[in-house]
Subunit: 401 residues, 2 copies
């Protein structure tokens, strides 16, 4: 299994300060427009046709303000009215988390909407993409993303998730639907797939074009898994930090995620799936049940579908590594059950996108074993949401058919 330590080390590594670099001033095309992710009527942040991000904030008494995005803090400059402005280098297409730094305080930009990632609610910005049409709201039959609370017998508390119901769920009140269980990554939560992931919009568009069959998606929190008696989050962080692979190096082995992979599996099988199959019009069998996830959610998908080989017929790992020939060559139940095995990565995630460890090579190897395996590499994107929007778009067209 090719492990991805990017978000993992971002989450569990020591607090880092990104390097401060000058704001970009040369060769800047002055066609900046407010980002689509801005708060209503807020002009900043802006993006230009070079995909540079420009931030602005009034901070008359500050001595330093920086735009902290993609691992660098761009030093902003103050005008005579106390307004600071700064411009980043070109960013990849798609969604990025970012923040402002004001005299050493890392804070959300008051101009942007807020998203949960990197273990905090904070600023995000969508950089226009050539293929953004597939995640743009259109006047097509609309499903809905619904906020749901439910009781967890495992945790003995109310949990919180989101369910996507396709338009036909409302218009055809006797029809039953398949279900995809779809998980976020490390440092994210149950809001990620619908907010920055645009799940509902992607699905409504795909279904309207006849490219995907209508299905339900349940999106839950894969990190909120502590059971009575489990170690505290602090203890789990300590356990995990002791085992994480060296920065940038090849992981020495599979990390021990403490109890939380096992706990999420228990919650999914004991609480989530039975609740969904009880409360919604669901075709409650293996052939109409899928699981997928991004990064850590892909690793959870990997572990849970292997450990429960007859529960899910469709499996997707987005930037979460690969299934290997060793794991699957003698997995008779998994092989009999599985109808689609999908593995994807961003083109800039070199280890997963290129060479012998790539998702394409893994798919080729698994096809040779007789699996309906698919690899997908998102062009020119990293371990970020544009990769995962595109992965969902691809995966959704393959399943329940």
């Amino acid at each position: 299994m090719a492990l991805v330590s990017l978000t993992v080390s971002a989450q569990f590594g020591p607090p880092r300060e990104n390097p401060k670099v000058p704001s970009v001033v040369a060769n800047v095309v002055e066609d900046f427009k407010p980002a689509s992710t801005n708060q209503d009527n807020k002009p900043y942040p802006m993006v230009n046709s070079q995909r540079m991000v420009r931030a602005q904030i009034k901070a008359p008494e500050a001595t330093f303000v920086g735009l902290d995005i993609a691992g660098k803090i761009y030093i902003m400059t103050k005008d005579e009215n106390g307004v600071w402005t700064g411009t980043s280098e070109p960013q990849d297409e798609g969604f990025h988390y970012y923040q402002l730094n004001i005299d050493g305080a890392s804070v959300p930009d008051p101009g942007s909407k807020y998203y949960y990632g990197a273990s905090r609610w904070g600023s995000g910005i969508d950089v226009p993409a050539a293929d953004e049409d597939f995640y743009t709201v259109k006047n097509v039959p609309q499903g809905s993303v619904n906020e749901v609370y439910y009781w967890s017998t495992v945790q003995e508390k109310m949990r919180h998730g989101y369910i996507y119901l396709p338009a036909e769920y409302y218009s055809n009140p006797t029809k039953k639907f398949p279900v995809l269980y779809l998980q976020h990554g490390m440092g994210e939560n149950e809001t990620g797939w619908s907010a920055q992931g645009k799940t509902g919009i992607i699905m409504d568009n795909l279904i309207a074009e006849g490219k995907a069959v209508p299905f339900i998606i349940f999106m839950d929190n894969g990190l909120d898994t502590r059971r009575p008696g489990d170690p505290s989050p602090e203890e789990m962080r300590r356990q995990f930090a002791g085992q994480r692979p060296p920065q940038g190096g090849r992981p020495g082995g599979r990390p021990n995620f403490g109890n939380f992979f096992e706990a999420f599996q228990q919650i999914l099988l004991t609480d989530i799936i039975p609740m969904v199959e009880k409360n919604y019009r669901v075709i409650a069998d293996t052939e109409h049940r899928a699981m997928a996830g991004l990064s850590m959610g892909g690793m959870q998908t990997h572990g849970i579908t292997l450990a429960n080989p007859t529960t899910f017929a469709y499996v997707g790992m987005f930037s979460g590594g690969t299934f290997t020939v060793d794991e699957l060559k003698d997995a008779a139940d998994f092989k009999k059950t599985n109808k689609v095995l999908f593995m994807s990565a961003g083109g800039r995630e070199t280890r997963m996108a290129e060479g012998d460890g790539s998702v394409m090579k893994a798919a080729e190897n698994l096809k040779a074993l007789g699996y309906n395996a698919h690899g997908y590499v998102s062009p020119e994107t990293a371990h970020e949401w544009q990769t995962w929007r595109r992965s969902l778009y691809q995966f959704a067209q393959l399943i329940f058919k």
Copy 2:
């Protein structure tokens, strides 16, 4: 009509800087706990048993940091690690918007979750209340709050709203339900009632206790009303600012809200109600249709229900003024149609809570005219969400019965 200019002037008045006051240090009970509105695992802000709010942020290079809440900026102090801390005076029970000020920049507190109000996404804090049980998530049959996009023929664009569907909507797939159209206030949007208003939680609890009948609630954006050809938001602000009543004074007359009251009425009647009645299992008649709103949303309710007297059988104005005897004494259609007329205010909204202009006096006067009128005053709350949570709790028990 008793007008409320509080949120209106907050929205349209000149930018104000709240006065800076010392952080509270004397007679502080040191039993602070993280607020329920905090981001997961964030210790600050905290609230103590005196309902004081304590904020904390690391800003090592800053020369000033303040906690900006309820019209004052509490001056925070820095420790040797560059961490700033400050404590406010006691706050009212319930939800309050707030922000931090770092060297002149007004920014969200990275510790809190974010809510839309005061015309921005920013920090909010829930101060524990003696009656918070009614808006606490419980293990009862759960409805859901659903995010919905739909086409507006009036605006020629996709709009965005939220619909609350009660648990029985899912469990009883042939039953049809009444609908309440529920509007937010000035500077807020369609997210307010479900997020800080806790609408779904309040309704699930009320229905589980048998105190309210199950009904649907649609929550839309009452400020996103610009139609092709309408003046720009900047122009509307200018029109409105020229007519707003003097600060603290008695309004000289009913303000001209530009085109946007009329536009919202058109969108509600042409787009929203037909969409809800087409896409959901709704009893589509006057006796099963209600409208209510808070502050500006109450004024919209007032205007729209008067202008369309046979469309809504149940009407609620929360901190939005009153219906007067003059308006209703000869309103034959309105009187024949109306089954409940509900008017509420916070106890600290003196003009609406006490004396001849109060909601209680208005209800008394309207009862004498033969209306089923109800007044309600929320104890010791101002023009804030605790007043409106309680108002919904009261109103929901009266309607569709």
